[in-house]
């Protein structure tokens, strides 16, 4: 009879709880029914900011900023055009037309300070991965240390003026080296630590090497 009273009192709201014996005498099941288990649920990490009712939206926005990696690097944009007048040597004035008329030319372009001796149509595999470019991007190479042909060479000190020539390259894609595995180990210890490397390299195709005429540069 007692168990039936307990059950009815739990399920039926009309029966007052004073009819029951005190809580500590009730069987365990009844005690569990009577008391709600109190526990604080911490919001999981995947909980959206919108789901949390926040009085200060700014504070929650600051707290829930996802950690970003290092910022994505972009290819350098076009620089401001050079305003200083072009200082052309007399020998350059004399022989630049002769150089320009020759059938084929080479150029020593410097990318991040490193020289690459190229001519039109060459494919260059750079020893690094260029960030912020996709296949099809056209790059204008503006640092060159020398520009020449079979009979003439124009040397810059240390670089040529970029208004004298035009050199364009197209990004053709990215290559990867074969996977290499470096094993490091201490002497007299059998544990071998393995490091895998597979670096990416950007490939360019030099699409244009052009020497401007004196009239184009602005010299008479």
């Amino acid at each position: 009879m007692l168990s039936r009273t307990i059950r009815r009192s739990i399920l039926d709201p009309k029966i007052s709880s004073s009819a029951l014996p005190p809580t500590f005498l009730l069987p365990l099941r009844a005690r569990c029914f009577n008391t709600t288990t109190q526990h604080v649920e911490t919001p999981s990490a995947g909980l959206d900011a919108s789901q949390i009712p926040s009085d200060s939206v700014a504070a929650s926005a600051e707290d829930i900023i996802k950690p970003k990696g290092p910022p994505r690097r972009k290819a350098p944009p076009a620089p401001a055009p050079i305003t200083t007048p072009l200082a052309v040597d007399s020998s350059v004035k004399e022989m630049l037309p002769l150089l320009a008329v020759q059938p084929s030319h080479y150029i020593n372009v410097h990318i991040h300070g490193k020289p690459y001796l190229v001519t039109q149509g060459d494919s260059v595999r750079l020893p690094f991965h260029m960030p912020g470019v996709i296949p099809g991007d056209i790059l204008r190479l503006n640092r060159a240390s020398s520009l020449g042909s079979r009979d003439y060479t124009l040397k810059g000190t240390p670089y040529l003026d970029e208004r004298i020539f035009e050199c364009r390259a197209t990004v053709t894609g990215t290559e990867a080296e074969p996977m290499r595995v470096k094993e490091t180990k201490k002497r007299r210890n059998r544990r071998i630590h393995t490091v895998r490397s597979k670096h990416k390299y950007t490939v360019l195709r030099i699409s244009e090497v052009k020497i401007k005429q004196l009239e184009e540069i602005g010299e008479p």
């Binding site: 290819a75 350098p76 944009p77 076009a78 620089p79 372009v109 410097h110 990318i111 991040h112 300070g113 912020g132 470019v133 996709i134 296949p135 099809g136 991007d137 056209i138 790059l139 204008r140 190479l141 503006n142 640092r143 364009r168 390259a169």
Partner: protein, 86 residues
């Protein structure tokens, strides 16, 4: 206030502990390290102790690490003229 721009050009390996101590006090860890100190007689004395190893200039303001690195970095030598549609 002007500053000394001190660059270690010759290494202190093989030199006396006293000289190496001066380099350590100046913060010159390895070759081509550059540090900035205000122009005072104390710093001038330290420079005199290691004057054969060091190149000094007087400048107006000290450069930060980032600015020093930007000085050494060569310019890229290219720019994106026509990007492909992304």
């Amino acid at each position: 206030m002007s500053f000394f721009r001190i660059t270690l050009v010759r290494s202190g390996i093989g030199l006396t502990k006293r000289t190496q101590g001066v380099l350590k006090a100046l913060g010159l860890r390895h070759r081509m390290t550059t540090v900035f100190y205000p122009v005072t007689s104390e710093v001038a004395g330290q420079i005199m102790k290691v004057k054969e190893l060091v190149e000094v200039q007087e400048v107006d303001k000290p450069l930060t690490r980032a600015e020093l690195r930007a000085e050494r970095r060569p310019d890229p030598g290219f720019y994106l003229e026509r990007p492909a549609p992304r």
